[in-house]
Amino acid sequence: MSGPALDPATRPALVEILISMADDEFVIGFSDSEWTGIAPLLEEDVAMSSLAQDEIGHAKAFYELLAGVLDDGRDADAIAYDREPAEYRHCRLLDHPRGDWADTIARRFLYDTADAVRLEAVAACSWSALADLVAKIRREERYHLMHVGAWLDRLANGGGEARRRLEAALERLAPDAATVFAPLQGEAALVEAGLLSAPMDAHEARWRASIGPTLERLRLPMPPAAIDPERGRLDHSAAFDWLHGEFTMVRRLDPVATW
């Protein structure tokens, strides 16, 4: 481990941003993997399952970086699986249950567009290990954006039940969309150290500008500001408690087993 990761002033904030990005990818990956076997059509089943796998892969890579920074004896698996639900730092947007297909597409659209802005915000960061990883992840996320964009168009322009379900999903999820940009503790230190290009609220504004044309074209509302953004990555829902029970199920059988 070298560079800013060892700087004691930025270390807590670096842990904060890594864990938030890792947990976001981990939780949306698991939520989307719930479609495996029951997606609307066989081809989409494969596509959504592969997207979900990509996200878990991104989470794994972030957890590995995080394990190096924390250097407390925990490996990526221990960080991913051995925490209590309250210790996860994913954003409130990802606390909603999987819901129907429209919920999944609405959540993917809101999250992937926000994640794209956040990835860009660390793409040129001063820590090469993180910058290199983010460059790879962005190549994969480009495809995710194309995929969710295709589906958002189809649901929004599908009329009838498709449109109705999409609007209902956005009504449920959009109030929490901006929590992807919930302020991080010590984010000023990250900006100072060149790990984050600007404070999170500036990135939220860039995200809104980036999705504005799509929402306007599809006559969909811009998500409102998040309520209580300081707690945007705390206070997880009962739906997440359930998901946590699911994704830790096997690990809990024997946490020290060798696979």
């Binding site: 029951i38 609307p40 081809e43 989409e44 494969v46 297909w101 599908g158």
Partner: protein, 134 residues
């Protein structure tokens, strides 16, 4: 997989019904640069954008393709009369391999009353039965 009478997949939990618009798309892939496109298989999709997404998932996720095409099966025109592909007269002289000698040799042997050629001699005069250049 459960399908309804008209072939649509039955969908649970409020998934969108893409009513009647799913159709087969033929996928062509290039295995490595410089190779021709070859048929790889097919995917079901409602339009070319999703067909390409699904083709990528099925035929291009693990670097097994360097290029992909999708073509709507409905846009493929098939020669309807297979008899047209089976010429009734011998045109084998048009093939790169030349005449098919087997029948002519048999006739010549019969005329001359000569015994069947030894296998070694037969191999010398035999020509490929199909002059497939591939």
């Amino acid at each position: 997989m459960t399908t309804s009478d008209n072939g649509e997949r039955m969908i649970d939990e409020g998934s969108p019904v893409v009513a009647g618009v799913l159709e087969p798309w033929e996928v062509f892939r290039r295995e490595k640069d410089g190779d021709p496109m070859r048929h790889g298989g097919s995917v079901m999709a409602p339009d070319p954008v999703l067909a390409l997404h699904y083709a990528r998932e099925m035929f291009g996720r693990r670097q097994e393709s360097t290029g992909l095409w999708v073509i709507r099966r409905a846009d493929i025109h098939e020669l309807e009369d297979p008899d047209l592909l089976d010429p009734p007269l011998d045109r084998s002289f048009k093939k790169p391999g030349g005449y098919v000698m087997r029948d002519k040799l048999a006739a010549a042997r019969e005329r001359s009353g000569q015994a069947k050629l030894k296998a070694r001699d037969a191999a010398k005069v035999r020509r490929p039965a199909t002059g497939d250049p591939a």
